[in-house]
Point group: C3
């Protein structure tokens, strides 16, 4: 699988696919820059008057509810439905789902009305969407009654989406195959928006890879390995780490993926 | 007092309180990152449908009118009233108050409808709110008819809020006790949002310290000392200084506060 | 002409003019910081209730449609008309014009209702506004049927605005005089918002220079030279380059302009 990931990384840089984001105000610049760093091109556009037209040139669509309002959710659904019509994959980041009624209702509405390929969130957000008990404090996952592996698998089975659950260890699952990714670094929690950036990475891989499980694996592996490399020389310096993260994503090589990615694959036992 | 500030710094890092921001588009990412750097956790959320629910988990609320519209002011008042109900301190940043009728009216409306703990602004913004003549050019303080000490004390006496006035020297006052803080560096004026970041710092200290005067002192001391340390190796390089500022806030120690903070306390004479 | 540019650079730092931006969410922080780096002061404000009052203190107005909605376009026109009334130059950045009907219609509406001094865009955006065939993919120029020089001159002649067309080489034209600027670096395409930043630079020069062609030349020369200097020690590191770009704009000297700017001036032949 890691060979596929490293081929997809090359494909992103070769094809420079457009990734259309309807995302939150906090990370618009940062996720646009991360899109460029991995080798793709960002579009940030949200007016209901244009999102259906704009998404037509994109190879993947990101819907991120971090600073949601009903106006934005409406635009997200318009863009998502058009993407579905055109076969463009849609990645959802349900930021803070579980923290407020608006967030959980909006995330569920998007999941109902749009055919979502992949949901990337922390364990509490994905647990809430899977109907598993979890504690969320603001937008931070605090505790949960199940492992990230269980949460990812459960959500994938119930929703039909690929689950990409990030945390100390990341987990991706399509319900049948569940992969734990033991990369990343604690520095990634010291700057805002690394969750949203990881969603962007998953989206960039979805723009060139038809199997969303492999794409989710690619995005999270690439981001985790780049984070480790950046933390190597910026440990305990969040400002410097933030800068280094773009440098390292931009310079990530196939060899980095093959040498450094640490994954464990488990198959669901047949019932 | 500085011993208390250094204890509060430790408390922020131990408790990781949530600081809910309704702030301007220019600094959302930067103030979220500064919240993390000092050791607290940011929430950025503004929809009127959710702010009352979201603020319930916060330990402090920031209302910053930098890119205000009536829609945002409405959300700020909703969040502020709910915070008041729950005893959560509210810090107001009246960006550009005095520059336009909308800004002065909005700042006054918030002050009337919400019980504000602390107002952090430049001398012109606070002077305008205190009814003292001052000149503001865009969002920059240009001139004023009184010293920052007088402005801070006057505003605090009239409003019942703690005043935190930033500039070449910072001043905090509750009307009775006025403290001048001789830290900070001219580099802090070379990047946008350092005023808003200082408000975030004051808010983070309010999240763990019940005396808002001590919290304002803590926030501005911590930020000023970190700014000096960052400027030491990035002088005249605003991009590098911006990065270093997060690094230094993140690495600020109790010893830094005790060794480097330069404050002067004056008590109002009894009438 | 370069002597004039270096004098204008000094004037910006001496006068610290206010540049009022109505710009997109992705680059608000970045363009505010670039305004400060060149020596001017940013105002970011967009509420229809205040833009006409706010623009009165500005020396230049930027209208950037990157994340446009009809609400924002309305505010842009209000601010633009008031700027016209007061003789304040207005610089338009028609981000993504040609990508959607909303964008082309909005850019044209602004050009009809506001007297625009200068339009800064990539070659596809300016070509679309000049009625020349061009291909735009999202917000990126892909191909065009004419050279940047032809596009700039055509647009300037048709619209009466100065055209500032950025790309591998930049071109400014007032229809009679066309200047090619052979500065800049490929690293400038690796971070988001360099187009918007170049618009800000053009605006800062317009704030002190009455001839918009000279101002456009100044803004693009200054930015291109700073970009080259930044790339010299941050090549292939987009995060580090982004930081260095602020440092280099801030430290740009008259000598840098005179020694490094590479321009070619051509005059339109008389018919």
């Amino acid at each position: 699988m890691l060979e596929q990931v490293s081929r997809d990384l090359s494909l992103i840089r070769e094809k420079k696919p457009l990734v259309h984001h309807l995302t939150n105000f906090v990370v618009m610049n940062e996720t646009a820059n991360m899109t460029l760093a991995i080798g793709a091109l960002p579009i940030m556009s949200h007016a209901p008057e244009e999102v259906e037209e704009m998404v037509q040139v994109a190879s993947c669509l990101v819907l991120n509810i971090g600073t949601l309002t009903p106006y934005w959710i409406n635009s997200m659904i318009l863009a998502g439905k058009k993407a579905n019509e055109l076969g463009i994959p849609v990645v959802l980041d349900p930021v803070g789902a579980g923290a407020t009624k608006l967030r959980i209702d909006s995330a569920k509405k998007i999941l109902e009305e749009v055919n979502i390929s992949t949901v990337r969130g922390n364990s509490a957000e994905i647990a809430v969407l899977a109907g598993i008990q979890a504690e969320i404090k603001g937008v931070e996952a605090i505790s949960k009654s199940a492992s990230s592996e269980q949460i990812a698998q459960d959500f994938a089975l119930k929703s039909g989406c690929v689950a990409a659950v990030t945390g100390v260890e990341d987990v991706v699952s399509d319900g049948e195959t569940t992969i734990t990714i033991k990369n990343g670094h604690k520095m990634m929690a010291t700057i805002t928006g690394t969750g949203c950036m990881s969603t962007t990475m998953v989206a960039a891989f979805n723009a060139v890879q038809k199997n969303p499980l492999v794409a989710a694996l690619g995005g999270l592996c690439a981001f985790g390995v780049a984070g480790e490399k950046a933390a190597y020389y910026t440990n305990n310096k969040p400002g410097s780490f933030h800068v280094a993260l773009y440098d390292e994503v931009s310079n990530l090589s196939a060899a980095d993926i093959l040498d450094r990615a640490k994954i464990e694959v488990t198959q669901k036992e047949l019932a």
